[in-house]
């Protein structure tokens, strides 16, 4: 069966077609994956502009769906089901996809499956690599999210850690803006960091509790005890503030404040300094992400690690995760770039998973900005 998936939770209008393969080890095949990338529009404004985004979704959605069908060499008659992102996200943006999918499902008599955006990111790993060895510890890290999940069984997602303030991708974007590197900040910092010394600046590592040498016992249901769960949370606000303070010191005060409060990036630091700051910042972020993920994997007896979301494209994160995985003898899975940033293919994968385990939902679901997984 072919499933048509639609994703409009934030800045990307996306549609994709996923087919079932009948192979339980590699259950889904990607037939098409179309993203009407709005990066060109957003760059001008230094970020995601929601009203612009939702108008753009309305304008783009028909064309994107048609492109996804045609790239899969099929018509709507060949689709057996629909999936759509229900949340979390901007409600105005989500509504475009949800209303479109429900109307299409109603008019064609097709089942439609509501999907949590982060379930989509997690299932992007299975779409790309086949079923992961379970249980798996999966880090979803992007502009809007930094969350750590335990996947004990297919289609089960248990939140075991998340950011208490800024998402990692958000910290990248804000630091890039402070340094005058533009949007999106992740690739810009990643590029600069290659030229820099990652030990040049001793940025603070967010330590949320004291180090505990005793291996805590996992609870019977595989979840961490509450005190341990808190330790698996992330925090990137302090790091961001430390970069701001450093830039202020080196530029004599006002420049960084102005850059932070407006879209004018007026900071002029020597390129060598910028590279060193990028490299040092990136080292601290990557260590924080991987320390928690590998700790969780060890404590919970995970048999694999997944890293999904836009930040998983970061070169240092990929290289370090691979190196640690080899050291700890645990396989690490990262999706290809097209499945790491927001896309509909992952929504299709999570939709097929849910359709087969729980059946289609009723048509009366709504977009939910604060949907939890």
């Amino acid at each position: 069966m072919n499933l048509l998936a639609i994703e409009t939770s934030c800045d990307e209008t996306a549609a994709a077609v996923i087919a079932e393969t009948g192979d339980s080890a590699r259950p889904w095949a990607l037939r098409s994956n179309i993203v009407a990338s709005q990066v060109a529009i957003h760059r001008e404004w230094g970020g995601v502009v929601p009203e612009l985004a939702s108008r753009q979704h309305v304008r783009d959605i028909c064309g994107v769906v048609e492109a996804a069908l045609s790239a899969a060499d099929m018509t709507l008659d060949d689709a057996g089901a629909l999936a759509v992102t229900q949340g979390p996200g901007l409600v105005g943006s989500l509504l475009v996809g949800v209303a479109f999918a429900k109307a299409l499902a109603w008019s064609r008599g097709l089942p439609v499956v509501p999907v949590h955006h982060l379930a989509g990111h997690i299932e992007s790993l299975t779409l790309a690599h086949g079923e992961l060895p379970l249980p798996a510890a999966v880090l979803v890290v992007s502009g809007g999210h930094t969350s750590l999940y335990l996947v004990p069984a297919p289609g089960e997602y248990r939140l075991i850690g998340r950011t208490r303030d800024d998402a990692a991708g958000e910290a990248y974007d804000k630091v890039a803006k402070l340094l005058g590197l533009g949007y999106p900040g992740g690739p810009a910092i990643d590029r600069m960091a290659r030229e820099g010394n990652d030990r040049a600046v001793d940025f603070p590592v967010a330590r949320l509790t004291h180090a505990d040498r005793n291996r805590p016992r996992a609870t019977a249901d595989g979840l961490l005890p509450p005190d341990v769960a808190r330790r698996l949370d992330f925090s990137f606000s302090g790091l961001k503030t430390a970069v701001l303070r450093l830039v202020r010191e080196r530029t004599g005060g006002v420049a960084a404040g102005k850059a932070a409060a407006s879209d004018a990036s007026g900071v002029t630091l020597p390129p060598g300094d910028v590279a060193d700051i990028c490299a040092s910042f990136q080292r601290v972020v990557v260590d924080a992400l991987l320390d928690r993920t590998f700790e969780a994997a060890g404590w919970l007896g995970a048999r694999s690690i997944g890293i999904a979301g836009g930040v998983s494209a970061n070169s240092r994160l990929r290289a370090e995760a691979d190196a640690r995985g080899r050291r700890h003898l645990i396989p690490v899975f990262v999706p290809p770039l097209a499945l790491s940033t927001d896309n509909a293919a992952m929504i299709g994968a999570a939709g097929l998973r849910r359709l087969r385990s729980r059946g289609p939902g009723p048509l009366d679901f709504n977009a939910e900005a604060g949907l939890t997984l």
């Binding site: 502009v49 612009l52 974007d173 606000s237 932070a260």
Partner: protein
């Protein structure tokens, strides 16, 4: 009336938010001003706790723009950091502030049409840890 509070940790900044929450009613609007790292999100975490919403649900809405937390009233946590004033006009904040929730808005200076009968919270970094918080309710 303006109240000035000095805090010397992120937890104390959150506690100041928690105290303010005790006096908030559905329909109230809190506008937050302050530079990156001044403690706006920490203050909103305190608001959430004071309203009986799980404080661990609070994170920065810079990317998500609007987040909701459910306590004795719904707290809408808005962040205008990424937006140009012209885009803020189109965001529908008027509808949000006319609703039954409590609305807390970071980078509120980017909203040209912000109402007058609001509580304003200005956070300022004094040094690494210390913050000066000015809370004014717009009344004499």
């Amino acid at each position: 009336m303006t109240e000035e509070i000095r805090t010397s940790s992120e937890d104390e900044t959150a506690a100041a938010g928690e105290r303010l929450a005790a006096s908030l009613n559905p329909g109230d609007v809190v506008l937050l001003y302050g530079d990156l790292g001044a403690g706006k999100t920490a203050f909103v975490r305190g608001l959430a706790r004071g309203l009986g919403a799980p404080p661990e649900d609070v994170s920065s809405p810079t990317f998500t723009i609007v987040q909701e937390y459910h306590g004795r009233a719904t707290l809408y946590h808005v962040d205008l950091y990424r937006l140009e004033p012209a885009e803020v006009d189109d965001l529908g904040l008027d509808e949000l502030v006319c609703g039954d929730g409590i609305v807390a808005i970071e980078w509120a200076e980017r909203w040209r049409g912000r109402p007058d009968d609001v509580i304003e919270v200005a956070l300022e970094s004094i040094d690494d840890e210390q913050r000066l918080i000015r809370i004014s309710d717009g009344k004499a």
